[in-house]
Symmetry: C2
């Protein structure tokens, strides 16, 4: 099971989708076998590409029967690093922060939300998801004690630089930024700017194109 055989970003995204698709499928139908076409068709892609991806991470298929889900899933978990547990905190206990704090879907990816932080003193102590909201002053200690390596930034746009700085000072190395302002960070820090509106904007754009013919 080779790791890191030059995985590019597009391939990682595809592996995630296979993983997501197969774990859903496993819950419903009896799991067992999938063919490359069985994976490819529902996500509107070519089956050759699925076979290539799976070969690249060292999963073997069986001619005439396909792949065994029970072999594919752990292989993807291993390659994508879902077996190494990662911990994340939420900074910004607003509506979106609350929604993410209560979200159940992170666990299968090896991610745990360990704390929620907010600058407003009157929010401290309230419950959000499984966590009690804590003041920002508690962040650094919490992050080091719980070995937190990711922060989810759900603060207003104007507060995001400050929140990011606090997270970085606390030793956090990856930021998931939901504020509608792109974040520039020092070398070595990972950032993902989420731009939530873009998802809907793309749909809207697609509609407009369709109308235009």
């Amino acid at each position: 099971m080779k790791k890191n055989g030059r995985l590019n970003h597009a391939m990682i995204e595809r592996l995630m989708h296979y993983y997501y698709f197969l774990s859903q499928r496993l819950e419903e139908e009896d799991g067992g076998h999938v063919t490359s076409a069985g994976i490819a068709r529902p996500m509107h892609m070519d089956d050759t590409l699925v076979r290539k991806d799976l070969a690249a991470i060292g999963v073997r298929g069986y001619p005439r029967t396909g792949y065994r889900s029970a072999e594919v899933l752990p292989a993807i978990r291993c390659v994508l690093g879902f077996d190494e547990m990662h911990r994340a905190v939420i900074i910004g206990a607003g509506r979106l922060g609350g929604a993410l704090a209560s979200y159940r879907g992170f666990a299968p990816f090896g991610i745990e939300i360990t704390g929620v932080f907010d600058i407003a003193p009157h929010k401290a102590g309230l419950i959000m998801g499984n966590c009690q909201i804590q003041p920002m002053s508690a962040l650094a200690r919490h992050a080091r004690e719980r070995k937190v390596d990711m922060a989810i930034l759900t603060v207003p746009r104007g507060a995001v630089e400050e929140a990011a700085d606090a997270a970085i000072r606390a030793g956090i190395r990856a930021l998931w930024n939901f504020a509608s302002a792109s974040l520039e960070v020092p070398e070595g820090i990972l950032v993902r700017n989420e731009h939530i509106a873009l998802g809907l904007a793309e749909l809207s754009c697609e509609l407009a194109r369709r109308d235009a013919g």
Copy 2:
């Protein structure tokens, strides 16, 4: 200003990012001019590609000075269809639905949230964002009266098929699905499955790879 000169998906995404970047920039600095490198550098891409994209949508630059933001923004708006107003409803008045209902960032993309719907009778009448929560029975009429063409599905996984069916019956043509179950829809209906966990999973994966060397 030519429209639809074979715009592919990747290019649309890039145009969205330029638009997003330039409208933010316009608020802060004095707008005026941007060079292709000024756009490309912050988003870690090649400046030739920016020039190509802008040329493709019919925007001209000025040697030695760059492009005028005031010309670029409307051109992108026009090509991406942000000038044709689109209306969306939210189905599922939970935490995520509430966060999106209150989100201010859709307007610049020509998108308005006109209503929030939920299956639970006791939620009807509550305020969420600018809207009063309505029962599902009111959806079809609302959609036709307000010419709604998009639905944001923030219902639990088990309810998403039903919510999608209701939206489609109401004449809605595009679905933005946040339930962690991929949605299959009839020909002619647009769907975007959002898979919120994947964003964080990608960060986590990137961290794991970095640790592995």
